[in-house]
């Protein structure tokens, strides 16, 4: 987990597998260092494969800044649980969190590279989404 701040868009990686999520976050850190706040979460509340909206919400809050947060998810349930997590956020934060329609690993790395340069949330997401056909 990298500390939020410096006005850069945060990255949250959500996978059914905690190992996949952690691994993708490691790759992000290798690319951009600690310059971009990045959090990863995976696994269901019982420790098996799946996703947990409460932990996704915590991950978003951990990297939150006014610049917003780009969220990357793997399969169907992860997207829905990320939506639930965004709806649980306080105040008007939900409006500055986007689920990017992009592959988790490549999307997160591309987005973090863009965010490191100070790009706005829309640009960060649009760049990652160029990866999707």
């Amino acid at each position: 987990m990298t500390a939020p701040g410096n006005g850069k868009v945060g990255i949250v990686i959500v996978s059914h597998s905690p190992l996949v999520a952690q691994g993708a976050a490691d790759m992000v850190r290798q690319m951009v260092g600690d310059d971009v706040p990045c959090a990863a979460t995976g696994g269901n509340p019982a420790g098996g494969l799946g996703t947990d909206p409460n932990r996704i919400r915590e991950a978003i809050e951990a990297v939150w800044s006014e610049a917003g947060v780009a969220v990357f998810v793997d399969l169907g349930g992860a997207e829905m649980n990320a939506e639930m997590a965004i709806e649980m956020l306080e105040g008007d934060r939900a409006g500055r969190v986007r689920i990017c329609n992009a592959p988790v690993v490549e999307g997160a790395v591309v987005a973090a590279t863009e965010a490191a340069g100070g790009a706005a949330l829309d640009v960060v997401c649009a760049t990652a989404e160029e990866l999707s056909p």
Partner: protein
């Protein structure tokens, strides 16, 4: 004790226990077309509901359903958590404490619409909606023996998902191979609806 509290407790307990009792069957169905976790995920969520049964039954119906929905969202961990969570919370938002059939039908329709939006899905895609929407139609039509009609419609609708081609969720990865199996979410929806009918029919 408030007599409706007793009914709420029986409803929630019966629905939860019915699905839990069929967890292995739901898992087998999900192994055929999905990732094999529907039974165990539903069981985990509904066990959290049962653990909070006293508090849920003590609330007005709508508030209790919202609380049950939050347990599903928080504990399930798969797609069925947000889907059933949205359904229950949608019902809770729309329901008066002692609804008549028309009020229940309207609330059910509103909850289904929320679930449809959550799953970005629709009827005919081999999902829980293929049971919920036909049941809503039967409930809206009302008439003599509506509970029997609802039960029959739910069973027929769940069975009718078997030949469907999955276009949402993990089952869609299978393409044509998704045909020939009842959708696990359609089956769990049928089980819940049957349990509700059982309780309502047994009322004195």
């Amino acid at each position: 004790m408030d007599p409706t509290q007793d009914l709420r407790r029986t409803l929630v307990r019966t629905v939860a226990e019915r699905v839990i009792a069929h967890a292995d069957e739901l898992t087998r169905l999900d192994q055929a077309v999905g990732d094999g976790d529907h039974g165990v995920n539903m069981k985990r969520g509904l066990e959290a509901v049962l653990a909070d049964l006293d508090a849920i039954a003590a609330k007005p119906l709508g508030e209790g359903l919202k609380a049950a929905g939050m347990h599903m969202v928080g504990r399930v961990g798969g797609a069925s958590g947000p889907l059933y969570g949205t359904l229950l919370m949608g019902l809770g938002k729309a329901l008066a404490d002692v609804p008549d059939r028309a009020a229940l039908a309207a609330a059910f329709r509103a909850a289904i619409d929320a679930t449809r939006a959550r799953g970005k899905s629709d009827v005919g895609m081999k999902t829980m909606l293929d049971v919920l929407v036909p049941v809503a139609e039967t409930l809206e039509a009302g008439g003599e023996g509506v509970l029997q009609a609802v039960r029959a419609r739910a069973a027929a609708a769940a069975a009718a998902t078997a030949p469907m081609l999955a276009v949402r969720g993990r089952a869609s990865f299978l393409g044509e191979r998704s045909r020939g199996h009842v959708d696990p979410g359609a089956r769990s929806s049928q089980l819940m609806i049957e349990a509700v009918c059982d309780v309502l029919e047994a009322r004195p």
